[in-house]
């Protein structure tokens, strides 16, 4: 078994409420902690509740893509927040071979699409309808895209849906790959600081929505099986299919912690809950442990059903 080292020895003992410890209480459940605050909250709330059930919990930092190898081989046991739109190659293979088990949706409802700061509505009055973009492409133009408008898309390794969409509906925009999330957010912040034109492929829940107001471009219709860039045209465009957020455990989880599986299956969080908590951590600079403890203390009616 690999030793995964933690600085602050984040092992939680909170099993006092229970007379008898559940099966597997001695083996720590290793929960993956990824790079973004929302996932950290999902992970720590789950960890704190598992602690209340009498389990030991360890939080282990893990990169969003490398973690799948670790979960498949059992170095990590649980991640409550997997975005299915950015999982690489290892994840579907591991799910198929049964090394990773998907235990339902977390309950977050991601919104993906083209976002813009509200001041762009003054420069392009028809917004948020996408049809307005045809006439005011120049209001979104930059030196290297002129006369076309500039659309910041996801980094190239996250797929090319925005570029395909632009081509399909014949929009006079030049897609520019965002490089990385950090670069995209830096771009968005600096554009807003200088009130410069901006249109960017982004997603929700994301902490930036707690920081600045952003509006979403609206399409003609919405549907779950809408494929970006496929069978869409000017006048009948549905935009992007929305991703889903899954909870996953490793193959041996149910054997080692049979009672914890019930919790994992029923655990859920909504966009509103997560956005509010993200804001507390990232904006109000409250320590994440305190935010989680506060939420757990205030919402017993919400989670009491999950830990039975």
């Amino acid at each position: 078994m690999k030793k995964l080292i933690l600085s602050a020895a984040m092992v939680a003992f909170m099993g006092t409420a229970h007379a008898a410890d559940p099966k597997g209480a001695d083996t720590p459940i290793k929960i993956a902690v990824n790079e973004w605050t929302g996932q950290n909250l999902s992970a720590r709330i789950a960890g704190s509740l598992l602690g209340k059930m009498g389990y030991k919990v360890e939080y282990v930092t893990a990169g969003a893509v490398p973690q799948f190898a670790a979960i498949a081989e059992g170095s990590l046991n649980f991640n409550p927040e997997i975005w299915t739109n950015n999982v690489g190659d290892i994840y579907p293979k591991a799910v198929e071979s049964g090394k990773i088990i998907v235990s339902g949706d977390l309950g977050l409802e991601p919104r993906e699409g083209w976002f813009y700061p509200p001041y762009m509505e003054e420069k392009c009055p028809g917004l948020p309808a996408y049809s307005a973009l045809y006439d005011c492409a120049q209001a979104f133009a930059a030196a290297d895209t002129f006369p076309k408008g500039r659309l910041i898309t996801y980094p190239a390794d996250w797929g090319t849906r925005s570029s395909e969409q632009v081509a399909a509906i014949g929009l006079p925009f030049q897609p520019v790959a965002g490089g990385s999330e950090g670069a995209m957010i830096a771009e968005m912040k600096s554009a807003i600081a200088a009130k410069q034109p901006m249109l960017m492929m982004l997603w929700q829940p994301h902490w930036i929505h707690a920081d600045v107001k952003l509006n979403l471009v609206k399409w003609d219709s919405e549907s779950a099986d809408c494929l970006a860039g496929k069978n869409q045209s000017k006048g009948s465009a549905c935009g992007f299919a929305q991703a889903s957020v899954k909870k996953i455990i490793n193959a041996d989880f149910a054997k080692t912690w049979p009672d914890a599986v019930k919790f994992v299956n029923s655990y859920s969080l909504s966009n509103d809950v997560q956005n509010a908590l993200i804001k507390k951590v990232d904006q109000d600079k409250v320590k994440i442990e305190d935010v989680v403890a506060q939420w757990v203390a205030d919402n017993e009616s919400v989670w009491s059903g999950w830990v039975k």
């Binding site: 690999k2 030793k3 995964l4 080292i5 933690l6 600085s7 602050a8 020895a9 993956a32 902690v33 990824n34 790079e35 973004w36 605050t37 282990v60 930092t61 893990a62 990169g63 893509v65 490398p66 973690q67 799948f68 190898a69 670790a70 081989e73 170095s75 990590l76 950015n86 690489g88 190659d89 290892i90 030196a143 290297d144 002129f146 006369p147 910041i152 980094p155 190239a156 390794d157 996250w158 520019v176 790959a177 965002g178 490089g179 990385s180 999330e181 950090g182 670069a183 995209m184 957010i185 830096a186 771009e187 912040k189 600096s190 600081a193 200088a194 902490w207 990232d282």
Partner: protein, 688 residues
């Protein structure tokens, strides 16, 4: 009137070929853009091979990984157990014993910073990995260096291996290491050893070979056996050069530890940098990044000072006593920390956080200087980068230059080039004339829009002229491989971006290096700056540039320059400062002016070191390319990133090998140019 040599006719022929292929290729279109249906993809085969390898040898690697984890685990436990005050004191004592009060004060400041900024635990976790990986890397590097020094055959294998390890970007081999060794701290450890040992090998060989024959002879006359000859004669004489390698190894290990934290598994300072970077928290990521730079400077100064001290003192009884004293005081500090909790754990209310102020400052700066910044970016883009990339033919438009490139203007441009070339020819400078025509044509057509066959032929011709038929064949095979597997368009983009970056680095870096070699003040200012630049996590270097200049190639170029300029400065200064004093003296007594001394004596003599610097600048520039993929540049770097994101070994590895091929060709050409220059000057050849 000068005669045009046959090789110059070849270049002119190539020029004509480029123009024909570009403007009317006719049936030769396949030599302009390689047809996609001719592409032979090798990524699938590579993935199959990797899977087979993992199935066959996976358990062996897993076992090694498991073993390697224990020393790191132990180091982390110890560092986490010790109160911060004790660790701080030990580092101060080490610094004092190594060098003196100034370094001890620096150690105190650095340690207080780590604790005060609230990153103590994370810092110690990173330090633990570095403390284990640096000695391993130095041991491997020194061993291979000595082996390579004694065996020419070994050197033939080692040198390309070093190039591969340093040029296949870190990201590309993180994935195979992850697949082989499993998730966890081992990935960072293995990656940082692999990435960090090559400088020690290089400098060990360079240092040992530079030991003058007279010294060896003196050793032999006094009856030294082979072992004594090595440890008492060669090694001490080569020590200063070897230490330069150790220094670079330490820096490289640290920066790799940061890159490897993208995998996760350890709650270290690199993870902190990455997650703050992800959130574009400029202040926070810079503050965390600074911890790494401080750590690097401290380790560098301490090891350096210890190694340069006289051996006699360290084995002295007095030193032993001072070690006892250090341990005694450390114990006392530890006992004290049991009573005073603030000495055990840094009090939370004393944590200071300047990050919000830094973020506001940057935002204000961008707001106030927006127009100026925009102008800088646009002129660099319109007048330098775009012409090199896509040629004047596309870059000149009313939107960019303010006018269109009419046929008349094109004709005038061509005429001007011909006139200049003709003038050079009349003045007996045929080579210069041909160069002007070639550069002029390249700028007109553009590097990435140049027919691939012409670029390939140009590199082969250049290889042949500088190093001979063998390199020419190697170049043809290497670049041909990239064309056939369909990576040429990405390769051309990488060559363009890196080429512009390296050119600027070399001109600027050598200039600063020369200045620093002649002025102690400049040197004292420059050294910590370049140390910081080299050890700052590459991601952190990107953030301020991307905040100011936005996503795109200009930001990427600045990041490449910020990183790759370091060896150009370092090697130039090192080369100029370590010249034989008797030659300088005799030149001065002969009445050479300072300018003559520099250009006629010092620079030619320092050429081997400067060329090693250029060599490293190219390698650094190429390794930065993969990081610039994070700000949206295309090319080979982006492919590696895609490979890591998809867990696709083949895609990442082919792109990594592509970068290595380009780097090695550039490396061999620069080495050969240097060699020929030295021979022309009648110098002793000092080629690594």
């Amino acid at each position: 009137m000068a005669r045009i040599s046959s090789s110059q006719y070849l270049w002119l022929g190539l020029l004509v070929l480029a123009l024909i292929l570009h403007f009317s290729p006719g049936p030769l279109g396949a030599f302009v853009t390689y047809p996609t249906e001719w592409v032979v993809s090798v990524t699938d085969q590579m993935n199959v091979a990797m899977r087979w390898f993992v199935d066959a040898f996976g358990p062996v690697f897993k076992a090694i990984g498991w073993l390697l984890e224990w020393p790191v685990f132990a180091a982390q436990k110890i560092l986490a157990f010790l109160p911060w005050s004790v660790t701080c004191f030990i580092f101060m004592a080490l610094s004092y014993l190594a060098s003196g009060w100034r370094l001890a004060l620096f150690a105190l400041a650095a340690m207080l910073y780590m604790a005060g900024i609230g990153y103590w635990a994370e810092s110690m976790n990173s330090l633990a990995i570095v403390l284990i990986s640096v000695p391993m890397a130095i041991a491997v590097g020194f061993g291979l260096g000595v082996f390579g020094f004694y065996s020419k055959r070994a050197r033939r294998i080692i040198m390309p291996l070093l190039d591969l390890l340093q040029t296949i970007p870190a990201f590309a081999y993180l994935l195979p290491i992850l697949i082989l060794f499993g998730f966890g701290t081992t990935v960072g450890l293995v990656a940082s050893v692999l990435f960090a040992f090559p400088p020690t090998v290089r400098n060990t060989i360079l240092g040992l070979r530079a030991v003058s024959a007279e010294i060896i002879e003196a050793g032999e006359i006094s009856g030294a056996n082979a072992r004594q000859l090595f440890w008492k004669v060669r090694f001490p004489a080569a020590k200063s050069q070897i230490l330069l390698g150790v220094n670079q190894t330490t820096m490289a290990a640290l920066s790799m530890v940061i890159i490897a934290s993208i995998i996760g598994g350890t709650n270290d300072i690199g993870w902190e940098v990455l997650s703050t970077m992800r959130k574009a928290q400029f202040g926070e990521s810079l503050l965390a990044g600074f911890v790494i730079a401080l750590m690097a400077m401290l380790l560098d100064r301490i090891t350096h000072a210890f190694a340069t001290r006289d051996r006699a003192i360290s084995s002295d009884e007095k030193a032993l006593k001072s070690w006892h004293l250090v341990l005694a005081i450390a114990g006392a500090v530890w006992l004290l920390s049991l009573v005073v909790p603030a000495l055990a754990e840094w009090p939370e209310n004393l944590v200071f956080d300047p990050a919000p102020a830094m973020n506001t400052g940057l935002e204000n700066f961008i707001l106030n200087w927006r127009l100026v910044l925009e102008a800088i970016k646009n002129s660099a883009f319109f007048f330098v980068m775009l012409p090199v990339k896509i040629g004047l033919i596309q870059a000149v438009s009313p939107f960019t230059w303010g006018f269109a490139l009419t046929p008349v203007l094109s004709f005038a441009y061509a005429a001007a080039l011909v006139v200049i070339a003709g003038f050079a020819l009349v003045r007996a400078r045929a080579a210069m004339g041909v160069t002007v025509l070639l550069i002029g044509a390249t700028l007109y057509i553009g590097l990435t829009t140049m027919p691939w066959a012409v670029v390939l032929a140009a590199f082969v011709l250049l290889s042949y002229q500088t190093a001979g038929a063998r390199l020419a064949i190697g170049t043809a095979l290497g670049l041909g491989f990239l064309v056939i597997i369909g990576l040429w368009p990405q390769s051309a983009l990488s060559i363009y971006l890196c080429g512009v970056g390296v050119f600027i680095c070399f001109v600027l870096g050598s200039g600063i290096g020369i200045w620093a070699a002649h002025s102690q003040t400049v040197s004292t200012i420059v050294r910590p700056v370049i140390d910081t630049l080299q050890t700052m996590p590459l991601f952190v270097i990107l953030i301020p540039f991307v905040m100011i200049f936005k996503i795109g190639e200009f930001t990427a170029l600045l990041a490449i320059i910020a990183y790759a300029i370091v060896p150009a400065i370092r090697y130039t200064e090192h080369g100029l400062r370590n010249l034989p004093p008797d030659i300088i003296e005799s030149a001065t007594t002969l009445g050479a002016t300072p300018a003559q001394l520099l250009f006629k004596v010092k620079l030619p003599l320092a050429l081997p070191a400067i060329m090693l610097g250029l060599n490293q600048t190219i390698i650094y520039g190429i390794s930065m390319l993969v990081i610039t993929a994070l700000v949206g540049t295309n090319g080979l770097g982006q492919r590696i990133y895609i490979g890591l994101g998809d867990g696709d070994f083949g895609v990442g590895m082919t792109a990594g090998i592509g970068m290595a091929i380009i780097a090695m060709i550039a490396d061999r050409i620069t080495q050969s140019v240097s060699l020929r220059k030295q021979q022309a000057l009648g110098l002793k050849t000092e080629m690594l």
